[in-house]
Symmetry: C2
Subunit: 420 residues, 2 copies
C-alpha cells in the first residue's frame, strides 16, 4: 500500500484535532482510499501538548529543516495562523516538492501568488479546503463539482462568531456589546475580536471562494468590507417587522460582466434559505447558470470540523497522481464594479420640527435616491425616522447621506444597512 | 491540450441539456480544466431532435458499435433510463476501456456489481453524481470530502415530485389526489407516478448514497420503503399543531454498529434545517463523527441541473489519470437492523362508546408500546383518536396495531407515521 508521510506544523486546536482524526481514521482511510497516512514530524514548541496527544516526542521539534529535508514527507499541513513563519515554511516545503494543506485564510488570501509560484517550481499541490467554512466541502464543490456552470453569485455566512452574535441579538433581544462580552467569556470570540466582527475573516474567505467561482483573482483591496459592531437591536427588530433577518454576508457576484465583492451586514428575506442559518453555523449559497441555487451548510470552525477538512485535503492530496492548481486569471481594476447597487434601510435621528422630512427627501431626490417607505416616531422633540430605499448606487446614497448629515435639523444618521 | 471524446446515449431531457451545456461551456472547460471535451457520437433514434440541438447528423446513429469501436471515445454518458439496453451498452463500453457517466439511479442501484466487474476489466471509471440529487455534488462530497469522518447518518429529501406534493398539501391545505393530478398536468409527476410516490426513486438513491456513507453495499431488499399515497391533509395539519413538517425522507443510519436504511413519510421538527426544504428542492443532511451536521441543498432534477452534474462528471473523469472505484464492502443480513426504533403518530377511528380507549391502551401496553399523548374528537358515535407514541420497535408497534385493528370497537387505523 502507498505510504504518504505528513508533517504537522503546530498542534493548536485544529492541529491537535487533525492529529486525533488521523489516528482515529488511519485504518478506515487505508481501507477506503488505499493509502497509509503517517505523521512523520510535528513542529511544536510545547512538548507536553504533543505528549498529551500521544505524539512520539522523537518526531517533535521546532526546526522546519526536519520537515524540508525529510524526503518521506510528501504533505505539510500548517496550523500556525498569521503570515509568518507560515508563509516561509510553506514556500520552502512547496519548493522541496511537498504539497501543502492549510486552514490559514489570511495567509492564503494574501500570499497565494507566491505559494503558486513555489508550487509550480516544486511540482506540488495547494490544498485549502479548511480555509473556508470549516468542514463543509465548498472548495471541493467549486473545484470539482461546478464544471458545468458559470457561477453567477456566491452569498455566504462564512464567519461563525458574527453569526452567533447576530443570532443572539435577534433571538434574545440583546445589544451587540453584551453579546460580544458573553461570546468572549465562552471562548466563541477572541479577546481582540476585530478579525471577526470587522469582517476581515469573511473578506479573506470571500477572496478565496469568489476566485474559484469566477476563475479570477479577487484582490483584498477590491472587496468592500464593513463589520457588525455598529448594529443595534433597534435595527434588527425593525428588520424583523419587515420580514427580514440580519446577517453578515460575504457576497460575490457578476453584474454585467463585472465582479462585485463585498462583506457587510445585510437584511435578507426570511424565506431565503440562508436566513435560517443560526448560531455558529455557516452556509454558502451558490447560483450557477445551469444548476440554479445550491446551498452548503455546516460548522465553519472548531477543532474537529476544521480538522475533518484538513484530513480530507491530506487524503485527497495523497491519492492524486499529479497536483493541479486552480485556474485563476489575473485581474485589473476594469474587472470590478465597486459602485454597486443595493436597496437600503436607513435610520436617523432628527429634530421634531416642521419641514425636516421635506429637507431629507429633497436631499435623497437630488441624487436620484428613491424612497420606498418611511416611518417616523417622535418623542420629546426628537424623531426617529426609518427609510426603506429602492435600488440605488453606493455613490448616490453616500452623497445623499453626507448632505443629510450636514442638515442642521438632522442629529445623526444611525444606521445604513443594505437590503437584499 | 488533452482531447477527450464523449458519446451521449440518448438525447432526452437530460441528454439534450448535457449537450447544450457541453457546447456552451466548451471554452470555459478548456481554460479552467485544461481539457477539450468533444462529443464524437450520439445514440438517438429521433434525428430531428438531434438536428434541433445542432448535433451534426453524421455523428448520430442507433448502433452502439459506433461507440464501442471508436477508440477516441473515452467517456460514455447514458440517458436512456430503465435497465436495458442501458446496462448492456454500459457494460460493453466499460469492457472497451471507456468510463461511464450516468444519471440512471435504478440501473446503477440494481446493476452496480456488474458494472464494477466490467470497469475493473476495462480499467475504466464509474461516475454517477447525476444519479442522486441532480446538480448537488453529494457524490463528490461523500467520495472526496468526508475522508476524515465516519458518517453516522444520512437523511435526505431526494425526490422532488413527492416534496412538491407534500409542500402543496401543507401550504395550501389540499388533499393528495388533487395535488397529484395537478402535478401530472404540469409535468412534475409522471402519468404513472408510482416510481416517485411509492418511494422507489428515493430507495434507489438511498442505496447509492448510503453505500458511500458506510462503505458497504446496501441491497435494495434491505431498505424499508413506504410512499406518500396514504397521507391525508388531516395528518399534515395535526403534525403542524405539534410543530412538525411531514417529508418523505430517505434515512440511512448506523445504530450499534448495524445499518438501518429506510424510506418513509416522516414528521420532522420545524427547526431541523431540512424541514424548510420546499417544493421540488432536494436536500441531504449528513452527520459525520468529526464534522457534525452538514447539509447540501439544491435542485434534484431537470435538464440543466442534472446536465450540470453529468458535465461535472465528464470533466472530472476526463482529467483523472487513473479511475478509482469507491470502496464498498459486501454485506450480509447481519450488517442490517430492520426492526428499527422510532417515535410514532397514530390516528384511528373508533366507536364512541365506553371502554374503547382502555382496550386500545391495553393492547399498546401488552407489546411495551408507551403512549406520550392522546387526543380524542368525537361526533355522531364515531371518535377520531390520535396518539403520539414514545420510541418503540417496528415489530412491537406493528403487533400492537394488528391487535388494535382486530378490536370490535375500532373501525380503522388511518395513519401510522414515524416521528423523528
Amino acid at each position: 500500500m502507498k505510504k504518504i508521510g505528513v508533517a504537522l506544523l503546530g498542534l493548536g486546536t485544529v492541529g491537535g484535532g487533525t492529529y486525533r482524526i488521523l489516528k482515529q481514521m488511519k485504518e478506515d482511510i487505508m481501507r477506503t482510499d488505499g493509502v497509509e497516512i503517517e505523521v512523520l514530524h510535528v513542529l511544536e514548541r510545547d512538548i507536553e501538548k504533543a505528549k498529551a496527544l500521544g505524539v512520539d516526542p522523537a518526531i517533535v521539534s521546532t526546526d522546519i529543516n526536519n520537515v524540508i529535508n525529510n524526503p518521506d514527507i510528501k504533505i505539510v499541513a500548517e496550523f500556525f495562523g498569521g503570515i509568518e513563519p507560515a508563509r516561509s515554511f510553506l514556500i520552502a516545503s512547496l519548493k522541496a516538492g511537498k504539497s501543502i494543506v492549510t486552514a490559514n485564510k489570511e495567509m492564503f488570501a494574501k500570499c497565494r501568488d507566491d505559494l503558486e509560484v513555489a508550487a509550480k517550481e516544486g511540482n506540488a499541490g495547494l490544498y485549502f479546503e479548511a480555509s473556508c467554512v470549516g468542514g463543509v466541502p465548498i472548495i471541493r464543490t467549486l473545484q470539482a463539482g461546478m464544471q458545468g456552470n458559470r457561477i453567477q453569485s456566491i452569498m455566504g455566512i462564512v464567519n461563525g462568531t458574527t453569526n452567533y452574535i447576530l443570532t443572539k441579538m435577534s433571538d434574545e433581544g440583546l445589544e451587540y456589546a453584551d453579546v460580544l462580552k458573553e461570546a468572549q467569556r465562552l471562548g466563541y470570540a477572541e479577546a481582540n475580536p476585530s478579525a471577526d466582527v470587522d469582517g476581515f475573516d469573511s473578506m479573506y474567505k470571500l477572496s478565496i471562494l469568489s476566485s474559484l467561482c469566477f476563475h479570477k483573482r479577487i484582490p483584498l483591496d477590491k472587496i468592500y468590507r464593513e463589520g457588525i459592531s455598529k448594529i443595534s437591536k433597534i435595527d434588527i427588530d425593525a428588520g424583523k417587522s419587515f420580514g427580514y433577518t440580519l446577517k453578515l454576508l460575504a457576497i460575490g457576484k457578476k453584474v454585467n460582466g463585472k465582479i462585485e465583492a463585498r462583506v457587510h451586514p445585510t437584511f435578507i428575506k426570511n424565506d431565503n434559505p440562508i436566513a435560517s442559518v443560526k448560531g455558529s453555523f455557516n452556509a454558502v449559497l451558490l447560483n450557477g447558470d445551469n444548476v440554479g441555487d445550491i446551498m452548503l451548510y455546516g460548522r465553519g470552525a472548531g477543532d474537529l470540523p476544521t480538522g475533518s477538512a484538513i484530513v480530507s485535503d491530506i487524503v485527497y492530496a495523497a491519492v492524486q497522481s499529479e497536483h493541479k492548481l486552480s485556474y485563476v486569471a489575473p485581474t485589473t481594476d476594469e474587472d470590478f464594479n465597486t459602485d454597486f447597487e443595493s436597496e437600503y434601510y436607513v435610520r436617523m435621528s432628527v429634530k421634531d420640527i416642521a419641514g425636516v422630512l421635506a429637507k431629507i427627501t429633497t436631499a435623497f431626490g437630488k441624487y436620484g435616491v428613491s424612497i420606498n417607505s418611511v416611518q417616523q416616531n417622535a418623542s420629546e422633540g426628537v424623531a426617529s425616522v426609518t427609510f426603506m430605499i429602492h435600488n440605488t448606487r453606493e455613490s448616490a446614497i453616500n452623497k445623499a447621506i453626507a448632505e443629510i448629515k450636514s442638515l442642521e435639523s438632522v442629529n445623526t444618521v444611525d444606521a445604513l444597512i443594505r437590503v437584499l
